[in-house]
Symmetry: C3
Subunit: 227 residues, 3 copies
């Protein structure tokens, strides 16, 4: 309710919307940067060469959105038509490559920036899917895919078990953000409100996983075997 | 020949077609359910959490059809526009998660249901491809992809060697079903006939692999090395 | 400059273009054949059955172009509409399967043919992307994807670390070829010239990697750890 732009804010609605749109673009860039850094770090750790590091930076920051756009029929994907995703991820890749050891000291801040990126990608992805007429339940999944797709491809290429499948409410948080957006759209809520709310829910779950160790339930069979 | 609907059946052709269409929908659901159970079972065995199990259930049941639809240009894919694939796979995922140990006792029935799912997905996939104007040879491959795509993605995500590449006439059976449909379409045969025939051929090959150990030939180099 | 078709050649421009177009088709087939052989060889080495070997042959020769076509919106992909990719890769797969040991003796020639295939796929891929209105920087990446996509999918399916990520200027060479085409298109150069120049650059880099051991730089952290 406090986020509703039409009540109690010192700015006119149109100004608020413009401000939020600009904020969303900036956050989109921050998210792209965070994901690119996370991809680059993995490349360095695996001993890939400069090219491999740049490649992973790019893939992690755009693969989720690309898969979403292909699946909802929005081709060519946004990352193919706009150049800023490419520019940001290349910069992040070069930075990771040459300052890998310093960046490794910033694990915690990167985790936070990554959580913000996840939250934003999840709500932006779900919003784009509903705009393209996708069923709300699938739109929520598309939000999740936008958030986790890059990390999934990264893990498959680097031969890790996709970490979105095992841990830390990562995909669950992204899905929760997408669900809020899908419901908000279905009940004709104000986009600004449900988008911010979805991002907040996703961010909250992810931070609880990082700081409080929240987890999704494990299957009983597994619990029995691993005491 | 016995399957030809226009001769020797007590129903009028239109009634037969309507009956078969309804049967196909039911079998499509059965196939989706079987594939979702197979995905969920793997997730439980690998120790994934509730979310990971649901995720694998969904991916295994829809990935093949999604890849086909993207490749033949039928976007957004059917699984994005209809909700029943999602509903069935989520139900199967929850069931697998909470009753994993009981389901493990039903290995053989699941294998049979999975074979039925494979047969149906293969012929439905090939049929959809020819309807979209794809070359018959590629339509047969699209039938195969519809049948095996989910299992391939499952194995890549769970870091197994894709089992469709090594064993049990799995992909070969799906391909055979697709080939029958592609040929049937090319010679302007009655769709009901060649679809059922394709499914029967696929099912037969798969059952022979399960019960009689039929295999595709191995390369000579491998046979020499592993006596 | 020597490649510029309009000056100093004994043939009229149109004849040169027609000759080059025919040459490009032949080289495209050679590239498809080389990639199919490389996929089939891996299948034999991993002990896959006949079907698995054919499957890898096909995937390696078409996956890169299919991913490019889906991303630039050229669906259905060329390999779905034309049958010759399928025919060539199946032939290569059968040959690999039955003559695997003889082919293993030809490692060096196959590496050369593969380099030619890479060069051609890179420039053809980038060219197709610019024709579809993709931003030049992304078109260069699409050239790279066309060249390396098949190998990436092959390595993921066979559970190797994608070798394009670690070695031998493979992806870098493809990218360089794509960059030449993208720049050539951006400055409105003659297509014949920049296409041939791009292929030459890619081929040169790849041959230097094979014969002189040229490499992309490794990250400092890795260099410190592995002396």
């Amino acid at each position: 309710m406090m986020l509703e732009p039409r009540i109690g804010l010192p700015l006119a609605p149109r100004e608020v919307d413009a401000l939020l749109a600009r904020t969303a673009v900036v956050l989109d860039w921050v998210g792209t940067l965070a994901f690119a850094l996370s991809g680059g770090m993995l490349g360095v750790r695996k001993g890939f060469d400069l090219f491999g590091v740049l490649f992973l930076s790019f893939v992690v920051s755009v693969a989720g959105g690309m898969m979403r756009d292909v699946l909802i029929g929005a081709t060519p994907p946004a990352a193919m038509r706009e150049i800023h995703y490419f520019a940001i991820s290349m910069s992040a890749g070069v930075i990771t490559f040459y300052w890998a050891q310093q960046i490794a000291l910033w694990q915690r801040p990167i985790l936070l920036v990554d959580a913000i990126g996840l939250a934003l990608f999840a709500v932006v992805g779900a919003q784009k899917a509903v705009v393209y007429g996708i069923h709300p339940a699938m739109a929520a999944l598309m939000g999740m895919l936008t958030g986790i797709g890059g990390g999934m491809v990264r893990d498959v290429l680097a031969r890790d078990t996709p970490f979105v499948l095992r841990s830390d409410l990562y995909a669950v948080a992204a899905l929760a953000g997408g669900v809020v957006v899908a419901i908000g759209h279905a009940i004709h809520g104000p986009p600004t409100l449900y988008t911010l709310l979805g991002a907040a829910v996703c961010l909250f779950l992810r931070l609880m996983a990082i700081y409080r160790g929240w987890r999704a339930p494990l299957p009983r069979a597994t619990r029995d075997q691993t005491p």
